[in-house]
Symmetry: D2
Subunit: 435 residues, 4 copies
Amino acid sequence: MTDFFKGLKPVKFKGPKTDNPLAYRHYDKDELVLGKRMEDHIRPAIAYWHSFAWEGGDPFGGRTFDRPWFGPTMDHARIKADVAFELFELLDAPFFCFHDRDIAPEGDSLAESNKNVRQIAEVFAKKMEKSRTKLLWGTANLFSNRRYMSGAATNPDPDVFAYAAAQVKNVLEITHELGGSNYVLWGGREGYETLLNTRVGQEADQMARFIHLVIEHAEKIGFKGQILIEPKPQEPSKHQYDFDVATVFGFLAKYGLEKQVKCNIEVGHAFLANHSFEHELAVAASHGLLGSVDANRNDLQSGWDTDQFPNDPREMTLAFYHILKNGGLGKGGFNFDAKVRRQSLDPADLLHGHIGGLDTLARGLKAAAALIEDGTFDKTVDARYVGWEGKEAQAMLKGKRSLEDIAKRVEKEAINPEPRSGQQEYLENLVNRFV
Amino acid sequence: MTDFFKGLKPVKFKGPKTDNPLAYRHYDKDELVLGKRMEDHIRPAIAYWHSFAWEGGDPFGGRTFDRPWFGPTMDHARIKADVAFELFELLDAPFFCFHDRDIAPEGDSLAESNKNVRQIAEVFAKKMEKSRTKLLWGTANLFSNRRYMSGAATNPDPDVFAYAAAQVKNVLEITHELGGSNYVLWGGREGYETLLNTRVGQEADQMARFIHLVIEHAEKIGFKGQILIEPKPQEPSKHQYDFDVATVFGFLAKYGLEKQVKCNIEVGHAFLANHSFEHELAVAASHGLLGSVDANRNDLQSGWDTDQFPNDPREMTLAFYHILKNGGLGKGGFNFDAKVRRQSLDPADLLHGHIGGLDTLARGLKAAAALIEDGTFDKTVDARYVGWEGKEAQAMLKGKRSLEDIAKRVEKEAINPEPRSGQQEYLENLVNRFV
Amino acid sequence: MTDFFKGLKPVKFKGPKTDNPLAYRHYDKDELVLGKRMEDHIRPAIAYWHSFAWEGGDPFGGRTFDRPWFGPTMDHARIKADVAFELFELLDAPFFCFHDRDIAPEGDSLAESNKNVRQIAEVFAKKMEKSRTKLLWGTANLFSNRRYMSGAATNPDPDVFAYAAAQVKNVLEITHELGGSNYVLWGGREGYETLLNTRVGQEADQMARFIHLVIEHAEKIGFKGQILIEPKPQEPSKHQYDFDVATVFGFLAKYGLEKQVKCNIEVGHAFLANHSFEHELAVAASHGLLGSVDANRNDLQSGWDTDQFPNDPREMTLAFYHILKNGGLGKGGFNFDAKVRRQSLDPADLLHGHIGGLDTLARGLKAAAALIEDGTFDKTVDARYVGWEGKEAQAMLKGKRSLEDIAKRVEKEAINPEPRSGQQEYLENLVNRFV
Amino acid sequence: MTDFFKGLKPVKFKGPKTDNPLAYRHYDKDELVLGKRMEDHIRPAIAYWHSFAWEGGDPFGGRTFDRPWFGPTMDHARIKADVAFELFELLDAPFFCFHDRDIAPEGDSLAESNKNVRQIAEVFAKKMEKSRTKLLWGTANLFSNRRYMSGAATNPDPDVFAYAAAQVKNVLEITHELGGSNYVLWGGREGYETLLNTRVGQEADQMARFIHLVIEHAEKIGFKGQILIEPKPQEPSKHQYDFDVATVFGFLAKYGLEKQVKCNIEVGHAFLANHSFEHELAVAASHGLLGSVDANRNDLQSGWDTDQFPNDPREMTLAFYHILKNGGLGKGGFNFDAKVRRQSLDPADLLHGHIGGLDTLARGLKAAAALIEDGTFDKTVDARYVGWEGKEAQAMLKGKRSLEDIAKRVEKEAINPEPRSGQQEYLENLVNRFV
């Protein structure tokens, strides 16, 4: 037991009226929502990297945090693991997620690096025996080291592709051994800094091959989890190939991967791609790609990735509406890929961030469930499309009418459609009734 | 012969030293560039709607232009056609493009509207007998009338779908009869104002069916032109389904349309989707979707569609580089989907816009050709990827190695790739040498 | 009494549990908040132009609404006025706002136009005798007519300046006669389409002179209301001179106007200027410029002015926090410069928009009041700055120490400040507790 | 003499036809432009920090560059200084700029840090005796160290203010001793991460006081250079107080500083503030604030500060137009606050970046001069405003007419202004003629 969180007690649900800032006010894990425990809906996970590995730096300044585990040795990594599981316990978190490089230091060779990762994974395994916290997903950091500066799978140098493949093999196997529910491929530097030196077609072929390799290996080792791609439009690259859900779908479809890979959708990345979060969820659901979620939002005025804890219940209401209509997240969950601000120096700030985030998700979930249970909303939308249930409409839609057939009917029946109100304000008010 | 352009003479190529503002300084249609006439590379087209139908309005104010053909009758439409062909001749334009509603007024019924369009098409046909100006493409306006306020193909009301289909049938046939090289489907209002009242999956199904109908009819009537979709991220809708080239590719692939439809890529829409124009061209080329181009740029600080004439030779150099590497635009061309500003009231302003645009395209084409002929640029990029030509690299890429094979080789050969300069500044300077 | 709103009843407060969509759920005008009636805090106003004059058009399509008062005659204007006051009554609105051109049609001369405006003003005056609805502000439309295409006060043609001055004189006097609390100068087209043809310095001089003229005339006629400038970064112009509050302050300070003019701050314009709404309020308060508010928000993904009804209670909580700390809005209020969407065709949609907006404001006001009454928030912020109350700190701030003095003290006392947590997540959670 | 640039020769002007990538193609320092040497117009400066101190990191990855001087000791700092002056010589640079922390390592106390800076300044002084490279400006790094995480002058802790003051005193004096032409105050972290914990009014007071201290000390020590503020809208903070030129003007005017401080305007910051670069220059000129320039552009699709070398001659043509019309930059110059991309690992890349940048500036300068010498452009703009030279117009502008006078004249003379073309396309073409 470290003394990092000294004086801080396990966070409990105290209800909306408490003025204890270190209690959950809405997140009551066992509360039943639409017949399922709240925790089973949300499946929240703590992100190892942002909570423990990020040092508070930004492009204009270095480390602001002062943590006992900052350092290059395996001993530091072990302290970090201790503190991580202490936070999981304090927050009563059912899941966590990790990147390989953030749990263990890079060695002099890939073999040594992989060994370091494996050693910390063994530490995790032991801790997980006594903890209720499970692994939501693992992933490999294919972007921090300078060898990846021009991409990993999409690097112009095939040796980098190979190196990345070997690194992923290690983390995928560890993720499997730790019982992870998903394995995430974040594009990292799969994109370009300048189109001038880039062959986008070839790099897409490389990326597809890489993903095929991962899927084949996952099958071989018996990994039953989901393989997830995380869309992001830009940063660190000028252009990231996994721009948004629609782009990822096109890529997957081109290479026959659309049944084997889903998306890990991040609130903040949706915003940076000039979409609402609910848009990305709805598009993913329409393509069967709704896999998991990164809960972190972006600042509404910043043009870079700010990775902030969610704090907008209304946004999460709309999100949960789409998630619930899609039958829930399945093996996915809500990863808090969020970091406290670089000025949030205190250990308690790590709690505040997660508490506020979880309460926001809980409010969103409950509001979405109430919206669905009320039923008015769905009925209103159904009524808007009811015309398509008609016989002629279905015939058109199913390909049983030609352009000529349709044109003749329009003339014969003198069809002259009268527009009907889209009822946007009514529907917005209706949603707000439940937030 | 109207007197609208009274006093203005046909625009001739006078070379870069002329100070005649109404002469081409770079656009010399017969100049050979990489062995092909400049005009055959660019295939420039004048957009009927922006040059003749737009009245100078914006969301905060109405008509500023004062044109003799503004009015609701077929007589007005005939004057408009006269002036249009006068402009084509003044500019020596090889192509034009049109929307149905902009060439002829809407009637009391679709039948009457279609008849109006057909009558003006007959006027066009006669004029085209004596003119060298051909039809690059036609399209149907499925967005201005209130019946389309909630979309055309994606409307919740199947009658609107049917009405739109009947409208497209008419314009597609006319486009065919006039010898058009392409038929364009611009999304118009295919998108949503609010996700709250929208089923994105169903609307995608509707849109796909609509396009299938168009393709089938095109085949039936023997239309050999390209069918084109024009990507745009938003406006008039909050979200347009044809967001960008990558999104359109995904849509086409999902519905088995990716071999039958290409993209009409607009400079300004690329920018509004947060892409460079050359990015959209490169992505389209990689998917086999590079069909045609709308040459109009967006203002760099405006968040709405400004449709301005191109005036950046460097941007067009990068564009032509990708077009030339793709073997040219084929049946496509450069449509000036650009409007003079609403303060540009004078007939001469219509000439200035097109002259500046054409000169910009000509500079871009010549610079790109010089860049390619010089060869240094391509050699530099080839060298960056040369590693992928190696035997092991090809084996990886072709699926002949497993993740395990690769990981073993990385360990055995102690692969530890050293990064190499991406040479961005060098390449930027190299491009600028030819602009 | 027209029959436009036939079947719709006056909107009443029914409390948060009602499922009547045409009732107020949070806006209870007489509820006391911090000792003042809710209505007196908010001072909500209905915007004549968006609710009655806007026809549902956008850059890609025309009129969607079908209103009996759409037409060019004074009779149409009178029906419009009738319906307007019916809406005021249905909503129980304490205020309205108007533009001259939207209440009465333009005549053949300015004299006739002014007379038309005056005649409708007389209609208003009579109606106001029997109505509780007062005039929050009036303004002149100096942007719709083509004569203003290059600006009004900042036009390169001094005759346009003069014409605009004469138009403003009329509306200012009418605003005064109708007991208006404010007169608003919205920049309209005071800005530029291209810097290439624009002298920004001279145009600023013109604008300053214009405002001086208005102030002098207001004094002369005894108008005691506030004169307000409405910041907006762009649209319709590429650049609007009144970009944001900070820019307006600089302009006012340069011309000695900063004591005589305040700002009318719009939620949506703040967003388009890449600011949060609360930022603009806080900056205005710091300069003494917090005059009034336009409540309409922008769509978060759209780059143009969408003028939507507010529906985010959290945003309004932060806004009211700054308003309450500033002592309230005084003569200002919350104008709903918002329009129902162009697909919201039904008369009831006008009610839904305003009801949702008012409920959102009410929730924000109550949450902000609770936040202030709780006191924790303010104490936390006060504590952050407490060091500046120290003697040495005050001496530095008041100019009693030189750079040398300070440097000496730093060395002597070996000052080496240790950073303290900014507590952002804690504060965000604290705010959310009250939303 | 280090061997860092081994094999690279001094960069010479070889003219536009050279295919030597390490030669100037347009920058010919002694070429007379409008009667003044090109170098004296541009006054280019190399930025110490980006070229020598930046390690190639970004938020998603660490150091990519491999430089012999990366390290924490004074010996490293001395090697860095050697290489810096070698680059100045290779590029024949007339100026350089520096931040204190980037030339010398931070010590255990401010005294030691200041001493370190002074020691390297002495190294500089010696080198400058033998070099033609002068100091364009110096500045203090008040943002990298964690003590400044909440701002320097605007910190809630007055000790940080004091510490920053003591740090600036040292650099200001050194700048003076080294003959610097300017001293720059970059906002760094003067702004906020969240408005929730921030008093914007008080922080503005603090900032104003800080600048007064600097000005008073500059006067005291006899520093005749310009004091410059560098506008930037955001990053690292969510909001930077020096948002843009207009905001800075308002701040300066409020605190009586507008005659003593000018702006250092950065191309990329203008873009991030949603302005064109020429806009910021024109606004600065109109306020008498045009002091100096940071030449680096932003990527057009990236929402964060990319600090790239300029490569758009047209943008620089418009910039130089405003600079030349303003009488040049005076004591200012063009600082290349630009960094080669993190993938540009080679020493030669440092040359390519600066060569491309200087050639771009040279093309812009020559084009702007030609545009001015031709005279058509200025005449066209003058003609647009000629009406304001009339007697009545001047009377209005000079405050000799009341609103009433003007309204009477409008009626009497039946003024009904007819709009005139803004000629935007014509002017754009005219500019392009010279680029």
